[in-house]
């Protein structure tokens, strides 16, 4: 039923450690319990097994492709087109006061 099985044996020794997963969770601002970290580690390693297949491909001299169309950025004229909609926008905000969005204290 499954069209093709990734060759897990050609995975080049890439395996995420618990510390790697913890670091990624922190960078991504996701609170995770130790058991969640462990589950994530196993699943991520499975997925990286699938991804590792890329490494076998010779891509020397191939330009990375960011967009499917080879076009240049279109530019906007320098004009003010937006007006104040603070009331509408802040009606859906978790916490506002005096027109400001409130967050736990930012320490510089």
């Amino acid at each position: 039923m499954i069209p093709y099985q990734p060759c897990l044996n050609i995975v080049f020794a890439m395996s995420l450690t618990t510390q790697d997963v913890e670091k990624v969770a922190r960078l991504a601002r996701l609170a995770m319990t130790p058991s969640e970290i462990e589950t994530a580690r196993k699943q991520l390693n499975g997925i990286f097994g699938l991804i590792a297949e890329m490494q076998a491909v010779d891509t020397d001299g191939v330009e990375p492709m960011s967009h499917s169309q080879d076009l240049a950025q279109r530019l906007r004229e320098d004009k003010v087109t937006e007006s104040n909609q603070r009331e509408a926008f802040q009606a859906i905000a978790p916490q506002v006061e005096q027109g400001l969005f409130l967050v736990p204290k930012v320490i510089e």
């Binding site: 240049a72 279109r74 530019l75 906007r76 930012v106 510089e108």
Partner: protein, 483 residues
């Protein structure tokens, strides 16, 4: 024990566009919080950026003004980090391919202490790239919370990165000032440092001569040249003390406290700065054609350095005068308008602008743009000096009147009766009368008592009610007394 100081600058210049870099919200300073935070500034789900042409034009102008490489193709990248004043969780910036590449800026350094002479130095510019500004965190009284204002989020910035070419606070300040003059000169940034339009990050390290570069600490967000100098001085001393006391300098981001004059490391620990840059898939590569660059070149004003050279070579001004007259675009424009009225007398223009005018501005605490006397007014007044209508003393009277009450030069001369008598016949008549009333003094003079000449000038001036053209009077007196 001598230490070598190594300084590089990253300057964030807010570009003077009407709208933000990726959306049509206003960039005006000082609005009520979040009233200029539109859907894109707020990073509502689904919104997308579209690049402001005005921001690119300003980057091109900067590249041209510093002789920098302007990239025919540059790329916007996302710099990912979480911060409440960064609504998308990433800043759109440029990383591998910035819009402006290598260039240079030549600066005049006036050493801050001692009797060392001013000197010229060239600071290399590494790159300048376009990016968006963040919002502001306000620490008012919000039950111990922080308030976020996103009006500033998305304001276009040009981040100008220098090579670590400066080796004193004086050089760093001179470079920052030259950059500040330049961005205002070419009209890409209003340069208002109080409002944060021009902010400097200073990388400082110290080393023993001949040794590899020391570890640098980055002083963030300096918004005055005075603070920059104080911060660098303090930081250099701190680093030297730390090393000399056996410690090591750790790479850090630090803040300068103007109240204490000290620097301190920032407390917020960012996880080892893994910004995960990658090309922004919402934006295509920015392409700048040679035609567009030429169009921008045509709109550039004559640059300060070019002007200085011209003032010296063509107008015969001193290098010092030329540098003062090109301290700002307003100053140079003023000078050139004045000069148009007396095209062959640059020196008198320079003298009056840097003398009487500057003194008055300083006394009243005004800058060039607030000057109550227009360049046209000053020019017409100087023309009246040059054509002999008024004397220097009379001119000062005209100047004072214009400063206090305004008015047209000729009308003031007329009203105050400041017109010099330049009619040779009239002056001769006065001289004749005085000589015949003072025959004894004439005899004494002719007998060798030269200093009596002043007496005759005084008498003649008195008789003319001070309006005789002094040069002409001297000439006539000399001739007549000689017999």
């Amino acid at each position: 024990m001598t230490w070598e100081i190594v300084i590089g600058l990253e300057v964030h210049a807010q570009l003077s566009t009407h709208s933000k870099i990726f959306c049509g919200a206003s960039t005006e300073f000082g609005a009520e919080p979040n009233t200029q935070a539109d859907a894109v500034s707020l990073a509502l789900p689904g919104v997308l950026p579209v690049l402001n042409k005005g921001a690119v034009e300003r980057a091109i102008k900067f590249g041209l003004a510093t002789g920098s490489h302007i990239a025919p193709r540059s790329v916007f990248a996302r710099k990912n980090y979480f911060y409440p004043d960064l609504p998308k969780g990433y800043q759109i910036s440029q990383f591998e391919l910035p819009v402006v590449g290598q260039g240079a800026l030549t600066i005049q350094v006036a050493p801050l202490s001692g009797n060392a002479k001013p000197y010229e130095k060239t600071v290399r510019i590494t790159r300048a790239h376009l990016e968006e500004d963040a919002g502001k965190s306000l620490h008012g009284d919000f039950h111990g919370m922080t308030g976020i204002d996103l009006n500033r989020a998305g304001t276009p910035l040009l981040e100008i990165v220098s090579e670590p070419d400066m080796c004193s606070a004086a050089e760093a300040v001179a470079y920052a000032k030259a950059l500040h003059t330049l961005v205002r000169w070419i009209g890409i940034c209003d340069g208002n440092m109080q409002e944060g339009s021009f902010r400097c990050d200073v990388n400082v390290s110290v080393r023993k001569p001949g040794e590899p570069l020391g570890t640098r600490r980055e002083i963030k967000n300096l918004n005055s040249f005075k603070f920059m100098q104080q911060a660098i001085d303090y930081e250099v001393q701190w680093q030297v003390d730390t090393i000399e006391n056996g410690g090591t300098v750790q790479q850090a981001t630090i803040l300068f406290n103007p109240d204490t004059g000290e620097t301190r490391a920032m407390r917020s620990k960012e996880d080892a700065h893994d910004y995960r840059y990658f090309p922004d898939p919402d934006l295509l590569p920015l392409e700048i054609s040679p035609e567009w660059i030429e169009q921008m070149r045509a709109t550039l004003p004559e640059l300060p350095q070019t002007k200085q050279a011209r003032y010296v070579n063509e107008l015969g001004l001193s290098a010092y005068d030329a540098s003062l007259l090109t301290a700002s675009r307003e100053m140079a424009d003023f000078f050139e308008t004045v000069l148009a009225a007396v095209p062959n007398d640059a020196k008198i223009c320079a003298n009056w602008i840097m003398g009487e005018l500057n003194a008055q501005l300083n006394r009243d605490g005004l800058d060039m743009t607030q000057c109550p006397i227009s360049a046209q007014q000053l020019g017409s007044m100087l023309a009246r000096i040059v054509d002999g209508t008024i004397s220097n003393a009379g001119a000062k009277e005209v100047f004072r009147t214009m400063w206090a009450e305004g008015g047209e030069v000729d009308a003031i001369i007329e009203a105050k009766g400041l017109k010099q008598v330049s009619d040779a016949g009239a002056i001769e008549k006065i001289v004749d009368e005085i000589m015949s009333a003072n025959t004894d003094k004439v005899t004494e003079y002719r007998g060798g008592k030269d200093k009596l000449f002043g007496f005759f000038v005084g008498q003649a001036m008195k008789a003319s009610k001070g309006q005789a053209n002094p040069a002409q009077l001297n000439e006539i007196l000399k001739a007549k007394l000689a017999g």
